[in-house]
């Protein structure tokens, strides 16, 4: 089964060179990749028919315990077939859609589409949640690149970034949820998570995990309040919209929720939340669909509404809900992709994207018009189309769940709007006389027709003969979703049921909407404030707010003043040390004066402190140099008095050399001194330096309370002569025990001085002679 991923990835890799090589035929050739995968997945149909699953494992990152375990059950097979099936049609369609564009564009598009398909297959097939997350984010990335495909258009770039921020960010939230699952159960295998769902639900993290996963799914599937990115994503080329933003990627959220519905089955709030969010999304999206102008925008809003229906269905319990979910996923993928293809052909032909400005296109695009009508009849939920069956199941699921009346009313109204939208998008541009288009740039070609015709007729074929597809796809998928085998009777005719009554109601309202479309549209366009509220205002608020915070912190921190940078660093050190001292586990501990005062040492220490103060106070730099020399020599004496003659000698030599060198530097600098800081600045600096000194004092004073580990020192003392043949332990440590350290240190000395040597090149007499 790993071959599925490998073939898909290989297809993505060769797409671009293949396009260069084959030119216009590359759409056809590359469509073989998804077609082969379609067949490969279909071959497993027998294995999953009884609700079972095929599992294949190979080790991927053994050190992290991440395995590439692939798991194919009925539900992932439904997705796999949709992904590869529609993928095949999209690839073929793209070959014609990009026919007039440069070959490089086509190659890039095909490569991205196939890469996206790889990511999608990986997401739905992987059993390990970490692996799934990686593929999940890869779909967001490829979606970003496809939305921004026309990178020269600012709105495409904006929409691409928006979708990436929303879906990618949601992915990170999902990742947090996955990590919490891993922490709670100690496994990332979904099969095991499902088996131990009781344990997960009982853990204190259960609520947090559920919320995190829901947020991840809602961002991907464009649910309220993240619904705004999907309509904007229509900036992508139409084949990509048909594929990513209606048929497959946006259903990943549904896929995830459906998967975890089994895990959180015993958590009632999970289902309730889904029903509420789904209903809200349906309402908002239906309103926006009525108000939208663009052809693709109308379709996008209706997609959001459909996703809302699916979320609501997952929130409902029972066998019927599972069948309804699966049926609706299939039906929606078929008719919505077909409609997007038709919209693409119409826009491609006229260059006009506004639905209101399109009319009478049937004369130029007769077959496309037929396909659009067929697809929209399925969308409207009319018999004998598969859309009708799925809607019957939707109402049945609602009615059998005993939910209160509000969601049912919402569902009826939203379905009516969908019915209306279906009528408008298929009839208006192709048959209405208003805004008649008199000429088209490109006609329809057979290649452009394959996709929509196949999908649209598929809708009616499945509707007429639902048994086969019911046993092959719907049954196993619904069983996998439900958790135990369901005997599905996927039927066109259910008899005279309450559902049928609701369906008739829906269609009647839908027809009314088609008739009064323009009036409703105009009225809704007047309510700006309401739509601003349910638009992407929140997104802009968050993004602008983040940018403003970044701008503010940059303004404060990065102002180009070296003094400011130093002050910030010092202040952070002071604050950190103070927190560690006062709030840390060790606490503040000041040893009482221990009476072991050594007069000589004390005097020298006080001398060093006085020298430091004199360095600050002296205005002349020469005086400061002398004072700092005094500090250095005083410290050397301290070393001497405490049994460190090596240090004392080194310190004296270094101090002398420093004075010699810095004097030479001083001689070359202007002698005249002026204050470089104002009085106020000096006061503030003194306060900061004083605070620094204070925390250092407290830290050093409480340091003596910490017991010292002398084992290393003792080891060096024991072995220095016997193994290192040296009596001076300090030197043996330097040249033997820690010799490699010393080697590094002399290398640093060498580099620093070579750099200084190079920096000061040209300061010698030779240059002066030239001058």
């Amino acid at each position: 089964m790993a071959w599925i991923i490998i073939i898909a990835l290989a297809g993505a890799a060769i797409a671009r060179p293949a396009a260069e090589l084959l030119g216009k035929a590359s759409g056809w050739v590359m469509s073989l990749v998804p077609l082969v995968l379609f067949v490969l997945i279909l071959r497993h149909a027998g294995d999953v028919a009884d609700g079972g699953a095929v599992i294949a494992t190979m080790s991927w990152v053994p050190s992290l315990g991440v395995d590439l375990t692939l798991r194919l059950d009925g539900f992932s097979m439904l997705f796999g077939l949709l992904i590869t099936g529609i993928g095949t049609l999209v690839t073929i369609y793209a070959g014609a859609y990009f026919a007039e564009k440069p070959v490089a564009d086509m190659g890039r598009f095909l490569a991205l589409i196939l890469l996206f398909m790889t990511a999608m297959l990986g997401t739905v097939l992987s059993d390990d949640l970490i692996v799934m997350f990686v593929f999940w984010e890869l779909t967001s990335l490829t979606s970003f690149m496809l939305i921004g495909f026309d990178g020269h258009k600012p709105e495409a770039r904006k929409a691409a970034i928006q979708s990436l921020l929303v879906t990618g960010g949601g992915g990170l939230v999902l990742f947090a949820g996955i990590l919490l699952i891993g922490m709670t159960l100690g496994t990332f295998s979904f099969t095991e998570v499902l088996a131990r769902s009781d344990e997960l639900v009982a853990s204190p993290w259960a609520g947090v995990i559920a919320v995190l996963i829901m947020i991840g799914a809602f961002t991907k599937s464009a649910q309220v309040p993240f619904h705004f990115w999907l309509p904007n994503a229509m900036a992508a080329p139409t084949p990509a919209s048909a594929y990513l933003h209606s048929a497959t990627m946006v259903k990943l959220g549904i896929f995830l929720l459906a998967r975890f519905d089994g895990v959180f089955a015993t958590m009632p709030a999970f289902g309730t939340t889904l029903v509420i969010v789904g209903s809200l999304t349906m309402t908002v999206a239906a309103l926006k669909a009525l108000r939208a102008e663009g052809y693709k925008a109308v379709l996008a809003h209706s997609t959001v509404a459909s996703l809302g229906i699916l979320v609501m269905l997952i929130g409902l319990d029972g066998e019927v809900a599972a069948v309804a979910t699966v049926g609706f996923i299939l039906a929606h993928a078929l008719y919505k992709a077909a409609l997007f293809f038709c919209a693409g052909t119409a826009i491609h032909a006229t260059g006009e994207t506004s639905l209101r400005k399109l009319g009478g296109l049937a004369r130029f695009l007769p077959v496309t018009a037929v396909a659009a009508v067929l697809a929209s009849l399925s969308m409207a939920g009319l018999p004998p189309f598969v859309g009708f069956i799925s809607k019957e199941y939707l109402f049945e699921a609602q009615l059998t769940n005993g939910w209160n009346v509000v969601p049912i009313v919402v569902a009826v109204l939203v379905n009516a709007v969908m019915c209306g939208v279906a009528g408008v998008v298929s009839i208006k541009p192709f048959y209405f006389k208003s805004h008649r288009v008199d000429a088209v740039k490109h006609g329809e070609t057979p290649v452009l027709l394959i996709g929509p015709l196949l999908l649209a007729t598929g809708g009616i074929v499945i509707g007429l003969f639902p048994g086969g597809i019911g046993d092959l796809l719907i049954g196993p998928a619904a069983s996998a979703l439900y958790g135990s085998p369901i005997d599905v009777s996927f039927q066109l005719w259910h008899g005279l049921t309450p559902m049928l009554v609701l369906s008739v109601l829906v269609v009647s309202i839908g027809v009314a909407i088609v008739i009064w479309w323009d009036a409703i549209h105009d009225r809704l366009r007047r309510h700006d404030r309401l739509f601003r509220l349910i638009g992407d205002g929140g997104y802009h608020w968050v993004v602008d707010g983040t940018l403003n915070v970044a701008r503010l912190s940059t303004r404060i921190l990065q102002n180009g003043d070296q003094r400011r940078y130093t002050a910030v660093v010092v202040a952070v050190v002071v604050a950190g040390l103070a927190i560690a001292l006062f709030a840390g586990p060790a606490g503040l501990y000041i040893a009482a004066p221990d009476g072991s005062l050594r007069v000589s040492v004390t005097l020298v220490l006080l001398l060093s402190a006085a020298g430091a103060v004199a360095t600050v106070l002296g205005r002349s730099l020469i005086a400061a140099l002398v004072s700092v020399g005094i500090v250095g020599f005083a410290v050397a004496v301290i070393f001497m008095l405490n049994g460190a003659p090596d240090l004392a000698l080194t310190q004296i030599a270094v101090e002398t050399l420093l004075v010699i060198l810095l004097t030479a530097v001083l001689l070359r600098l202007p002698a005249r001194q002026r204050h470089s800081r104002t009085v106020g600045e000096r006061r503030r600096d003194a306060a900061l330096a004083g605070a620094f000194g204070l925390v250092i004092f407290l830290a050093v004073a409480s340091m003596s309370a910490i017991p010292l580990d002398m084992s290393l020192t003792e080891y060096f003392g024991q072995t220095s002569y016997l193994e290192g043949f040296g009596r001076n332990v300090v030197n043996v440590i330097l040249v033997d025990y820690r010799a490699i350290d010393t080697l590094g240190e002399i290398a640093v000395v060498a580099f620093a001085t070579i750099a200084a040597w190079a920096l000061l090149r040209g300061s010698g007499p030779s240059k002066r002679a030239k001058e």
């Binding site: 990065q558 070296q562 040893a591 500090v631 470089s676 003596s704 060096f716 001076n728």
Partner: protein, 128 residues
């Protein structure tokens, strides 16, 4: 005794930081010298100052006598002193070079890499 050490180290470090905050390159340099000296002393004190005999094995003995100073921090400080010297010398060379090319030792005049003030204040005229 350790309070006196703490006071001396704190005084040196405080003065070092005050100098570090200056705009004059030479004073910053002297601040670094003070800070590195104080840090060495701090490490020295951290090693414990219980004995004053140097850590040298007496002739005739095979191992170090018990009551000798801690050798490990001494070895660390010894290299630290030399490295600190190299650092300050390099910084001094850098400052001298900067003075020669810019003509000022004040960091407020060193604006070639990054001008003073918020970067956003300069965006407007550039875009206009």
């Amino acid at each position: 005794m350790n309070l006196v050490y703490a006071f001396a180290i704190a005084a040196q470090m405080g003065c070092g930081v005050y100098l570090l905050l200056s705009r004059h390159g030479m004073r910053i340099l002297i601040g670094i010298v003070l800070l590195s000296t104080a840090t060495n002393l701090l490490i020295f004190v951290a090693g414990g100052l219980r004995f004053t005999a140097p850590p040298v094995i007496e002739p005739g003995l095979q191992v170090l006598a018990a009551e000798t100073a801690n050798a490990l921090p001494q070895a660390l400080i010894l290299t630290a002193i030399v490295i600190g010297f190299a650092l300050v010398s390099f910084a001094a060379a850098l400052m001298l070079k900067t003075y020669r090319s810019v003509g000022s030792v004040l960091t407020s005049d060193h604006v070639d890499a990054e001008a003073l003030g918020s970067p956003f204040d300069r965006e407007a005229p550039r875009n206009a």
